[in-house]
């Protein structure tokens, strides 16, 4: 298989406009003869479904939630970037492009990222027209804030609920099309498999989560907008239902999976309190603007703190180690996410972690409170402090917060070309589910931008080209391929339901999470990864022997749903480890201890690894085959990051 990214020729800034012109169009009268399936209704899915329906295509949209409005895009807090340059501070499409490429540690495709920056401005216009209530200045114009990884203010926001407001905007556009009959919405439906006919995606198999009915749906093309796979770590900031199943099934049907090991770990989350913990809550990164990160100077002091023999407020100034300020004098507490996360882990590994579990570091506002006053701090961070108090029962105005990194976003995903098409013709992948725009690390406020860019402004063009090429003649679900796929889905469900062992699915998930976090988390080594591979295999084998799945298929069965998702995570986990093993360099969120600078920073190896690693599935328990898409940087110069 040869990977063809189909990047248009010509200068960077002209690629997208030229490409749009060269794409074939579907005659307006013919559009209604086409059906498109959209799986997932987050920012990417809802915006794509609405935009395609507006063009005249018939859309069938699917989500596992009880409403399209609940997709996890809703939880994004910070904001959305756009190169509007409303602040007159020197922003431009090129600067946003450059920041994103650099932030991604030079592991993203130039052409895609440039297009993303280019359409970012349209996104804001679109959302405002839909009635998204972005924050405004007293003059009535839109407000911007600055965000990590850039020196301009280009982030649009709606208090701390930007994702919610954008998703509700897209949801309203989707609703309008549902009302017009152009979108048929299937809620509480989980995609179980992709149906391919002659190598082309022609439909999907779904399970109605309420009554277990296995259904087939045919279409001219299938769009997967199914989000990231951070839940492979069990604990993450993802929603409980976030899963890799749709992408993984597509992978098994021939779509390559790219850079699976690229995961983003967010430094400021509320730490785990015990085994009962089901998910982690993010605290906005903005806290690091005023909070100082520290741990006790010695292991002894840390132990005393953990046992409660010493109160944190009694710890003398000279006994505190402000490790970020010490190690990175120029950036201090504001180093990028990956650096901050890794250093926190180092402290905990040294035994200097705090809190009852010892797996946390302090984020201290005492200095900010004495400098600005408690009221000013409350005005800035009040809602975050309240949230922290609600969860931990500790008062961050009186004692330092405890924070620890948590899995937040996955940059990897299904490999797509410039048109967002996977290696299976007719199968597209949008948003976090694809791998395309963030390289090895995503900048803050860029996830929302990418989801909406893909859905509103990219796929409506590129999909038309494919549809015009294949013509309106439909493959309906009487084709034997549908029945075959349905059968395989049923077999897998039966296999899951036959498991009457002694361990719960959650226990397997938690164990998988431990393995991934320990060996494929913030710091990775050849040795650890190799070990992890073995452990995951064992765990997977054990799962298929000793798991306990209750109930039947023909009912609302959350245990069964979960079992299917965890079973897929157990397979994905191994691929992530393979990918991490293969990438012997460090870059962005992928830190191989073997590859670091003398100062302990991530050391890229551009000669060996300036490629996207796309993996091809070859069969259960068979090693996957690596395909490399060489990344060509014609416009930016690759440099080593330094935050000293």
């Amino acid at each position: 298989m040869k990977l063809d990214a189909k990047i248009p020729a010509g200068p960077l800034a002209e690629k997208w406009s030229k490409h749009k012109f060269n794409l074939k169009l579907v005659n307006p009268a013919n559009k209604r003869k086409y059906t498109v399936i959209v799986v997932g209704t987050g920012l990417a899915g809802a915006s794509a479904a609405a935009s395609l329906a507006e063009l005249g295509y018939n859309v069938k949209a699917f989500c596992y939630q009880d409403s399209p409005r609940r997709a996890h895009s809703i939880a994004a807090q910070g904001g959305i970037n756009a190169a509007k340059n409303y602040q007159n501070d020197g922003d431009s499409v090129y600067r946003l492009f450059y920041d994103t490429i650099k932030g991604g540690d030079y592991r993203a495709r130039e052409a895609n990222v440039y297009r993303l920056a280019e359409v970012s401005v349209n996104i804001i216009d679109q959302c405002v027209a839909q009635g998204v209530p972005f924050a405004r200045e007293y003059g009535g114009l839109l407000d911007n804030r600055s965000f990590g990884g850039s020196q301009v203010s280009r982030t649009f926001y709606a208090r701390g609920q930007t994702g919610q407001q954008l998703l509700l905007g897209a949801y309203s556009a989707l609703n309008r099309q549902i009302n017009l009959g152009k979108v048929k919405m299937y809620t509480r439906h989980e995609m179980m498999d992709v149906v391919t006919v002659d190598g082309q995606a022609k439909g999907i198999v779904t399970r109605d989560l309420i009554n277990g009915k296995i259904e087939t749906h045919s279409a001219h093309a299938v769009l997967l907008c199914t989000g990231g796979y951070g839940n492979v770590f069990y604990l993450s900031t993802n929603a409980m239902g976030c899963n890799v199943t749709a992408a993984w099934k597509a992978h098994k049907r021939g779509a390559l999976f790219a850079n699976p090991c690229f995961t983003q770990i967010h430094p400021t989350c509320i730490p785990v309190t015990g085994d009962h913990q089901s998910k982690l809550t993010l605290m906005s990164e903005s806290l690091r603007n005023d909070g100082r990160v520290w741990v006790p100077k010695t292991v002894e002091l840390a132990q005393k703190l953990r046992k409660g023999e010493l109160k944190v407020t009694d710890l003398k100034e000279e006994d505190r180690d402000y490790f970020l300020e010490r190690k990175y004098p120029s950036f201090g507490n504001l180093v990028p996410r990956d650096v901050a996360s890794r250093n926190a882990k180092e402290m905990v590994d040294e035994g200097r972690g705090v809190g009852a579990s010892g797996v946390a570091v302090f984020l201290d506002f005492a200095e900010a409170i004495s400098r600005l006053g408690e009221d000013a701090v409350r005005a800035k961070y009040g809602n975050l402090f309240d949230m922290y108090m609600q969860i931990t029962d500790e008062n961050p105005y009186k004692q330092p917060m405890r924070i620890y990194p948590a899995v937040h976003y996955t940059m990897g995903g299904l490999w797509v070309d410039y048109n967002l098409q996977t290696t299976v013709p007719g199968l597209y992948c949008l948003g976090e589910a694809n791998f395309s725009d963030h390289g090895a690390n995503r900048l803050g406020a860029s996830a929302l931008m990418q989801g909406l860019a893909d859905g509103y402004f990219v796929v409506p063009y590129t999909l038309g080209d494919y549809l015009a090429t294949i013509g309106p003649k439909a493959v309906d679900n009487s084709h034997p391929a549908f029945e075959e796929t349905k059968k395989s889905v049923q077999e897998r469900i039966n296999k899951l339901l036959s498991l009457t062992g002694t361990k719960t699915v959650n226990e397997y998930h938690r164990e998988l999470g431990h393995i991934m976090w320990e060996y494929c988390g913030m710091a990775r080594t050849e040795e650890g990864l190799t070990k992890a591979k073995g452990l995951i295999r064992q765990l997977r084998e054990d799962f298929w022997k000793n798991a306990q799945v209750t109930g039947t298929n023909e009912e609302f069965n959350q245990n069964l749903e979960n079992a299917g998702r965890v079973a897929d995570f157990l397979e994905l986990g191994e691929l992530m480890v393979d990918d991490a093993l293969n990438r012997k360099e460090s870059c962005g969120g992928h830190f191989r201890l073997e590859s670091q600078t003398e100062e302990g920073e991530a050391l890229r190896d551009d000669d060996q690894f300036a490629y996207a690693a796309a993996w091809e599935y070859k069969g259960d328990n068979e090693p996957e085959v690596l395909h490399k898409e060489e990344l060509v940087f014609e416009n930016v110069k690759l440099t080593q990051r330094s935050y000293k």
Partner: protein
């Protein structure tokens, strides 16, 4: 930090929409005060699964108070005893050792029970689909800064827009009325200049759908506002009423 607790749960169990439900009593033992309410249920469910029994089904997803999936009527109140949060943000330290906790699904004919504590809230989606949008196609819209909107108006619209569609307003209302939910959307768009062209059409369509779904009438008890996890104000209801009567009794068009 206080020690672990033992609780008695009285949970509504119902196999599916057609079957009769009943309360079943469970013991939740060694509950850490740091657990969220849903994590406490997770632990109870793990125990049930180990015994080969069906776990308690309930809707949940983001577990950070924004998706609106979690519900649960806890000791007589939607989202439990605390103000301004969802069930997933409720922690067990809000309960006492040996407490009896009664857990019921949202009760409304427009929210039929799917199983146990999970209900079908698609009626909300149908109301939104009836008119909760501004009819603009992708592309071809004016520049975002071409219409200045006063900050107070934008903030007010935002407050209405924070609704998470959880249904606590319906659950809390003695009449199972959906007015707070519907009015929040109507208000958001009625406040913004972008929403003006369809303002009166929208309110009529959404109210008609709300009535068709079989929600009750508002009797202004204010329970919805008191229980809303996003603290959405009933001023929105007044605004919707005004717009509706304006649309149906005064305005000439549509």
């Amino acid at each position: 930090m206080s020690g672990n607790m033992n609780l008695t749960l009285k949970v509504w169990r119902q196999k599916n929409a057609e079957s009769q439900g009943k309360f079943v009593t469970y013991k939740a033992e060694q509950v850490s005060p740091d657990m969220s309410f849903l994590e406490m249920l997770d632990v109870v469910n793990e125990g049930l699964i180990k015994k080969g029994e069906d776990p308690i089904h309930f809707d949940h997803d983001c577990r950070e108070g924004i998706c609106g999936a979690c519900s649960l009527h806890i000791n007589g109140r939607p989202h439990g005893p605390k103000h301004g949060i969802t069930t997933c943000q409720l922690h067990m330290r809000s309960f006492n050792d040996n407490e009896i906790v009664v857990i019921e699904p949202w009760r409304a004919s427009a929210f039929p029970v799917i199983r146990d504590l999970a209900v079908d809230r698609t009626s909300f989606d149908r109301i939104q689909a009836a008119g909760g949008f501004i009819s603009v196609n992708t592309g071809g819209v004016p520049d975002a800064n071409s219409i200045p909107i006063p900050k107070v108006v934008a903030d007010e619209a935002f407050n209405s827009a924070t609704c998470i569609g959880c249904g606590a307003c319906v659950a809390a209302c003695k009449n199972a009325s959906a007015m707070l939910f519907v009015s929040a959307k109507v208000s958001q768009m009625a406040l913004l200049p972008q929403g003006q062209p369809e303002r009166y059409r929208r309110v009529q369509a959404m109210v008609a759908q709300m009535d068709a779904e079989g929600f009750g009438s508002c009797t202004n008890t204010g329970a919805c506002e008191a229980e809303c996890p996003k603290e959405i104000s009933i001023t929105n209801i007044a605004r919707m009423n005004r717009d509706y009567f304006n649309a149906t009794l005064i305005k000439n068009e549509e």
